[in-house]
Amino acid sequence: MNISISIQTDDFSHSDEYQNLCNDAPRIGAIVTFCGLVREFDDSNGEGLFLEHFAGMTEKTLENICQQAFERWPIISTRIVHRIGTMGLGEQIVFVGINSAHRKAAFHACEFIMDFLKTDAPFWKKALTKDTEYWVEAKSSDEAASKAWKK
């Protein structure tokens, strides 16, 4: 069980993350990656995000989500990088990568981890706009997505 989690203010290299997954298990088959970027918001008034988290609980929660993924699917490694602090539009926020011999396992484990990260990991986004800043509201669609795995 190869679980790797980084919470960091610095940006990350998608290319290095992909290469590390390849190196974890060369000749293994399937690699799925998800990357979330800061998108335009507030009718283009948005300038970026500030991300706060609950240090300690975040790492525990993500580790637990990854362990559940290993219990459900035959995967080789999971890698999560999540940034905190201030990020501009278009910047990378989060990376989730999975390495598996089976493509379906890689897809589903990656989607599963993202769904539970969205509802269970203690991160909070503050939207920064030209005029003001405000906390982003949680989406009910995210809650529905993680509940769907429990059926």
Partner: protein, 82 residues
């Protein structure tokens, strides 16, 4: 003694990110702590919102989670990472 922590919009509303609360023998579950804080009135009544989440010792819990002296109890709004 309980260590209380507050995050994000809730912390802003309370203007408080952490405090120590004396242990009371009336504390059985997280809801007892929540009720004690709400009794303080504005802005602590923000904790009455049903969407407020509770973590005990950095694990997600809820109003019914049993607590003991020395626990860390965190209150926060729904998470929005990723």
């Amino acid at each position: 003694m309980l260590q209380l922590r507050f995050f994000a919009s809730l912390r802003d509303q309370l203007n408080c990110d952490s405090e120590s609360l004396d242990w009371s023998d009336n504390f059985n579950t997280a809801s007892d702590v929540r009720a004690t804080l709400i009794e303080r009135g504005t802005p602590w009544d923000s904790l009455a919102k049903p969407t407020v989440l509770i973590a005990i010792n950095q694990e997600m819990g809820n109003d019914d989670t049993a607590i003991k002296n020395g626990d860390e109890i965190a209150f926060f709004p729904p998470v929005t990472g990723g």
